[in-house]
Symmetry: C2
Subunit: 233 residues, 2 copies
């Protein structure tokens, strides 16, 4: 990085983080949003975010915000893109780093959620969002799709135990398209990332569907879907 003169001659900026928080519930991929409580855009739907402090990284800040809202730590959290158009917010210039977070809806603290007035809304019917938040959601979803295509998704979103149907529903929610049940099952099993329990879910059918669970991640590439390198060349 090339600072020509002194540090003090350069502009300083307000920096925020905004979290695109995905959850999965009742067969739907959902997003945690809240109605903004102050101007500008008071009352309109917004991602959940906060400002960056002096002594923390963007990742720290996003984690802090998430802890505040959901009560959870150790959440899957990844930086996606930094939005920096000078006029992205009116009146004040604020840059914002967008993060994806994946959480299990049943795990989070319902109380702090309600205090904020936050709600889980289905990604298929999102309301209008403030500023460039919709673009943040788009990028976050693309990130999630990319991740789910390269590595078996669900570890952070599904409950501890889940059926194949639930896993497939999750994939169908992420990619907004149908997957062949048989082929999906075989492909996933071939990845060796999940294992069958001896418990069955009998609520959806008479026969009952086995619950599966994710294996411990021994091999860091255990559930990779593609081999390394440029496929096709």
């Amino acid at each position: 990085m090339s600072e020509q003169v002194s540090f003090y001659s350069h502009a300083k900026h307000l920096l925020a983080v905004d979290c695109v928080i995905f959850g999965y519930e009742q067969g739907e991929l959902k997003l945690l949003l809240y109605r903004r409580t102050f101007d500008p855009q008071k009352g309109n739907w917004s991602l959940i975010g906060g400002f960056l402090n002096e002594d923390e990284s963007l990742e720290d800040a996003a984690g802090r915000v998430l802890k505040q809202i959901t009560g959870l730590t150790n959440i899957f959290l990844q930086q996606v893109f930094t939005f920096s158009q000078p006029d992205r917010e009116p009146n004040v210039r604020v840059l914002s780093a967008a993060f994806v977070a994946l959480i299990r809806i049943d795990q989070q603290n319902q109380e702090s959620l309600e205090k904020l007035g936050a709600q889980w809304l289905s990604v298929t019917k999102l309301p209008e969002l403030i500023f460039d938040h919709h673009e943040m959601v788009d990028r976050a979803l693309a990130f999630l799709q990319n991740r789910a295509a390269h590595e078996l998704a669900g570890r952070e979103l599904l409950p501890e135990r889940f059926t194949f149907i639930q896993l497939r529903n999750l994939y169908e929610a992420i990619f907004q398209r149908a997957f062949d049940p048989g082929n999906f099952r075989k492909k996933v099993l071939s990845l060796n990332a999940i294992e069958r329990t001896n418990v069955k879910n009998k609520t959806e059918s008479k026969r009952g569907a086995y619950y599966y669970r994710f294996k411990k991640k021994s091999d860091p590439n255990g559930d990779r879907i593609f081999k390394a390198g440029a496929a096709g060349f």
Copy 2:
């Protein structure tokens, strides 16, 4: 984004951009670096960067830096990741957004390059870099590999006209592995992204190899390598 109180109560930060500038020359993928001319780390190898001004986006800032150095505008430029560890630089806290840039080495302005003391160094034998710049390079290279796996690369890096061997060499440089000449040719041709000229390069062989050029990008997905969706599911 959720600002609890007034904007003025929040910390402001120095923000920089750093460019990972790739070029391709003599069968090698290269990086434009320079020796830092001031402390800290004076004399050590560094990416080329600059500070973010009040009224520009990060993309603008990166473009400005690139123009300064290479004399070129309309360069391929993409944000990769924002580095924000509080101690990533000693003494002062500076966040930095890393960018990938792709340029044709023969096109750039040699003069402004020399004034800065910048040099093209092969990615296979990089010197030690200051701060977290090496991590920036790693992320940028991953970005480039990803892009080259999904869409035919070379448009921004190769000269106007190039042989198949040159294109294959570029891919071998990007992925650091060999590709089968026959299979590579067939795969690339099937993408319909390049067209043969009637000129041959006779410098490398008696028979001569046809020069090819990239087609105009009519279809924005013209040179996509994968179909949409989650391959494998």
